[in-house]
């Protein structure tokens, strides 16, 4: 068996090298096993990564360790060359990537990928009605609303780029949804509205609050992540709800979409009590069409469910600097999902080449190297489809014990911040600061800003400065807001000079709205930047396809802004009543008195002597004195 595999693997090496780009290789090593297979990440070529690997993977056994993708996902399918006449038409892979962070925390990223060779949108084929691994609820949504791509994410917490580096798949706080519709759709807005309602029912979230006031149509910041020929941005819709809460009720339906549910495989680790006791929690669903094979003549649908969580029990002082699967998730792994063709756990050991930083147990000889967002990283691999991973106790508990103190982390190359400046409740200024920390390279960055209509932007005050000099963007697209109809949309393509800080400022005025008493508004995160970065070695992310081998694409989100909106003065009615009554009393009252008062002459009362004299005179009947 081993020899057979060896032979096949050798064949694979030859095929790979012919397909692969000569400039860089991504190596796959097995220390004990000398059937090392060399694979190249850059074989992505223009057909997309999956194409090349699919064809080659079909010749491998399912227990082979595969290369790790730059965002840590398994994209290649592995299934034994089956005696059945037709290959499996849908398949499922799951993986968990654990990255120990410099601060002593742990970043765990789950990815579940279901591939299905069918086309929901093709008319000549029979309507799809038999669902096996692909969840039926999503399949019906895709065909009913003619959706080409769907990306939805729910996030709690904010990703701290300076402390944690770049995430595998970024997401803004709250809920984010962006959808590419098929070009046959005639009423995109109507479909969008109904789609958000249906998704709010599926994911138990208040996505029905997405309407025209928070939906935008970006013209350049979003391109389809799946296959697509024409990109007409009229079929793209993007919306975020920064205030959306994520809790167990969102995780429950998300888990139910998995083929094994939460009963077997990596999903047993998802216990909400532990997952939400973290500083960052993000779950997402990404659906897109990808190449089915190398020739890329037909499509397959890919459903990726990702869950990223950062446990910070050490930095928040709640625990020791020691991690295990049981401590993180209160569960250990007992088996892989039987429906999965591959089920693996990867641990990032790049910073620990000789084991001086931390110690990993149970030890493994399987290693994998991959290039992630420009970085070469090494991973220890645990294959859960193998019985020996679970050991004697039939349970797999990964233990990570920190030995030394890690140094400072390298600064991330791209970083963005956003804040509101100004004072008072009438005007303000939104400042966006983008840091380019590369010493000598400049990159183009596309900034997308979506501001709600109640912050009235003054676009004539927009300034972009880098290194205290004016930096004119090469492309600006601005769509002003319409009150209660649509938000502002500002997209700019800016060249960031190397090792610089670029600041984008725009002034705004707050509109007075009587929304509720606690009137503050969350301005959604700016979906910022994409960068193109040239380096010697090709870099690739399997999630984001790139045409050139020597570039990678990064999307960075900034924090959402909390803006205080002016509230009406509720003591005003009282003040008005007092003032009015005073004015009426003083002004009108005196005027009325003047007009209606009659005056009578009043004689002063005469002195006593005179009164006595008058009295006597009256008795005598003589005229009185004056």
């Amino acid at each position: 068996m081993a020899a057979h595999r060896c032979g096949l693997s050798l064949v694979c090496i030859l095929i790979f090298s012919s397909l692969a780009h000569p400039s860089s290789c991504d190596t796959l090593e097995k220390a004990n096993d000398n059937t090392a297979t060399k694979r190249s990440i850059s074989e992505v070529n223009t057909d997309g990564s999956v194409a090349g690997e699919d064809m080659n993977e079909r010749q491998w056994q399912s227990t082979d360790v595969e290369v790790n993708r730059s965002d840590g996902t398994k994209t290649s399918e592995t299934f034994t060359p089956a005696p059945a006449p037709a290959p499996a038409r849908d398949q499922f892979q799951e993986e968990l990537v654990i990255r120990p962070l410099h601060s002593g925390d742990i970043y765990a990223s789950f990815q579940f990928r279901t591939l299905w060779d069918t086309d929901f949108l093709q008319e000549r084929q029979k309507k799809v009605s038999h669902y096996r691994l692909f969840p039926k609820s999503l399949g019906q949504v895709l065909s009913k609303f003619s959706v080409r791509e769907l990306h939805i994410s729910f996030t709690q917490g904010f990703w701290r780029t300076m402390q944690w580096g770049q995430p595998f798949i970024p997401s803004p706080p709250g809920a984010e949804l962006w959808v590419w519709f098929h070009h046959t759709v005639s009423d995109v807005d109507g479909n969008w509205k109904e789609l958000t309602n249906v998704l709010s029912g599926i994911f138990c979230a208040s996505l029905n609050f997405i309407d025209m006031t928070n939906t935008v149509q970006p013209s350049a910041s979003f391109k389809p992540l799946g296959l697509g020929n024409a990109t007409d941005h009229r079929f793209l819709r993007y919306a975020t709800l920064p205030r959306e809460i994520v809790c167990t009720e969102n995780l429950t339906p998300w888990k139910k979409l998995l083929p094994c549910g939460s009963k077997a495989g990596l999903a047993v680790l998802m216990k909400s009590e532990k997952l939400f006791h973290s500083s960052f929690h993000s779950q997402a669903v990404h659906i897109r069409p990808i190449c089915q094979d190398e020739q890329c003549t037909s499509k397959a649908w890919e459903l990726r469910q990702t869950l990223n969580v950062v446990f910070d029990h050490y930095t928040s002082g709640q625990g020791k600097k020691e991690w295990s699967l049981f401590k993180m998730f209160s569960r250990t792994l007992t088996e892989a999902c039987p429906l999965a063709s591959s089920s693996k756990v990867y641990v990032d050991i790049t910073d620990n080449p000789e084991g001086e930083l931390f110690e990993l147990s149970p030890a493994t000889h399987l290693l994998s190297r991959a290039v992630v967002l420009g970085d070469r990283r090494t991973y220890s691999v645990y294959d859960l489809t193998r019985a020996e991973t679970f050991g004697q106790l039939r349970s797999f508990n990964l233990l990570l014990r920190w030995k030394g103190d890690s140094g400072d982390m390298l600064r991330p190359l791209l970083h963005a911040e956003r804040y509101v400046a100004g004072f008072g409740l009438q005007t303000g200024e939104i400042h966006t600061v983008i840091y380019n920390n590369h010493p000598y390279r400049a990159f183009p960055v596309l900034l997308m800003d979506s501001v709600p209509w109640y912050l009235q932007l003054y676009v004539h005050t927009l300034t972009v400065t880098s290194k205290s000099r004016d930096n004119k963007p090469s492309y600006i697209h601005y769509q002003p807001a319409k009150d209660r109809h649509r938000p502002h949309l500002l997209e700019m393509l800016i060249q960031l000079p190397p090792h610089s800080m670029t600041e984008v400022t725009v002034q705004f005025e707050r509109a007075l709205i009587l929304k509720d008493l606690t009137s503050s508004a969350l301005v959604p995160s700016m979906v910022a930047m994409s960068t193109n970065f040239t380096q010697d070695q090709p870099l690739f992310s399997s999630f984001v396809p790139v045409k050139e081998e020597s570039s990678y694409f990064v999307r960075v989100y900034t924090e959402p802004l909390l803006v205080n909106l002016p509230t009406p003065d509720f003591s005003m009615p009282y003040n008005v009543i007092c003032l009015t009554c005073t004015v009426v009393a003083v002004g009108y009252g005196s005027f009325y008195n003047l007009l209606t008062r009659t005056f009578q002459v009043d004689e002063p009362s005469p002195p006593l002597a005179k009164r006595l004299a008058n009295f006597i005179r009256r008795i005598r009947g003589v005229p009185l004195l004056a």
């Binding site: 138990c204 208040s206 809460i245 009590e273 037909s298 509720d516």
Partner: protein
């Protein structure tokens, strides 16, 4: 002797003959009882009316979740429960144990659990949405999980908890619903045949005022306090810092924990839950609109779910499996052109992007008005006789 033996044999034969008859009679009675309740499905609408953003209203959410838990445990599935929680307590930043809501102090019982589906949350819990759910008049794009799809054979349980007063309930601190509106909503449900029997439980201050005005048939109501009385909260938890549950619902939960799907406990036992000695307030109930005797109404008629089982002794032939559609290779000649991925940031393309062709919209009201004004002035000045020169 012979006579006696004849008698015993006769008796024996009679017994043999009539025993199966008696047994079948017994079965028929049981079956009759099975169908006598008259309902075929169960629904529950559980609403928590606390104001958004107030941590000390934790107990209202815990109340609703404990009823949710009992109802799920006794068999009603999530698809038949409409759960409306006006605030998120479990993942609130003030919760020292995230993703949990406890009903007993010392964190004994987590009523939030791991398998909860909240249908309406946060700002979606409004009077309008509540009444729309009850009457079924929801916009067409509302998903199924947010609808009450009951029919005339459904038994519905409605549970409300929050802050209330004499004749009204508070929703989100800016709205209220009055007892008359609620009674009218139930009448609408009755007219539209949306329920077979309805049990209404309310745990607020002066809760009995809410069911005073009901006038539709087949309604039974329970309240935690009479008019003029306040419903009190039960015990605080020092770690969480708030009162965990209200007294009435706490004892209701304890009572329901004893009930299992096959239990024969009836409504009279439910009326005895939380007497004044335990609850301080006087719970009340109303059964005059209900047609059956409360003593014959099982708890599981409302809190549990009916599962009708049909036992069949014949074999049933399953239809042959669905043939998968034509393989990819057959249709590959149709799609020859190779599909590609798109560049995520095509800088050159973006810079030279042509400005978006804006769709033509008919002129705005302002423009129309301006032109009308101009035309009017023109015709005013030059007179109508010039019109024929124009047209």
């Amino acid at each position: 002797m012979g006579y006696y033996s004849l008698l015993t044999t006769c008796a024996f034969i009679h017994l043999l003959v009539f025993m199966p008859y008696a047994y079948s009679n017994y079965l028929e009675n049981k079956a009759g009882q099975f169908f006598s309740s008259g309902h075929t499905n169960n629904w529950a609408v559980l609403v928590s009316l606390n104001k958004l953003g107030f941590w000390f209203n934790y107990r209202h959410v815990a109340n609703t979740l404990s009823v949710y838990r009992s109802v799920k445990r006794l068999g009603i599935p999530d698809s038949h429960i409409v759960l409306m929680l006006a605030d998120d307590m479990a993942c609130n930043y003030r919760n020292p144990k995230p993703a949990t809501v406890f009903s007993h102090k010392n964190m004994e019982l987590n009523v939030y659990g791991d398998d909860v589906e909240v249908d309406y949350r946060g700002y979606e819990v409004t009077v309008e949405n509540f009444l729309r759910v009850l009457t079924g008049r929801l916009p067409p794009s509302t998903p199924r999980s947010k609808r009450l799809l009951s029919d005339d054979r459904s038994n519905i349980l409605i549970y409300l908890t929050g802050h209330g007063g004499n004749g009204f309930l508070k929703f989100q601190d800016s709205e209220e619903i009055s007892n008359m509106e609620l009674a009218d909503a139930f009448e609408q449900m009755w007219q539209k045949r949306r329920y077979n029997e309805l049990l209404f439980i309310i745990d607020t201050c002066q809760g009995a005022s809410m069911y005073e005005r009901f006038y539709s048939p087949n309604l039974m109501a329970l309240a935690s306090s009479q008019v003029g009385e306040d419903s009190l909260s039960h015990q605080p938890d020092l770690a969480i810092g708030v009162h965990l549950m209200d007294k009435y619902t706490f004892y209701l939960l304890e009572f329901l924990e004893e009930v299992h799907p096959a239990s024969q406990a009836n409504m009279n036992d439910l009326f005895k839950v939380c007497p004044q000695s335990q609850c301080v307030s006087t719970p009340g109930h109303r059964t005059d609109l209900f047609q059956r005797n409360p003593g014959s109404v099982l708890i599981t008629d409302f809190f549990g779910s009916v599962r009708k089982v049909e036992i069949t002794k014949d074999t049933i032939n399953l239809t042959s499996s669905v043939k998968p559609p034509i393989q990819r290779s057959g249709s590959s000649d149709m799609t020859i052109e190779s599909l590609t991925y798109v560049d995520q940031l095509p800088v050159a393309e973006i810079i030279h992007q042509k400005p978006k062709q804006k769709d033509w919209h008919p002129p705005d009201g302002f423009i129309l008005g301006l032109w009308t004004l101009i035309l009017l002035v023109f015709f005013q000045t030059y007179g109508i006789k010039h019109l024929k020169h124009i047209f």
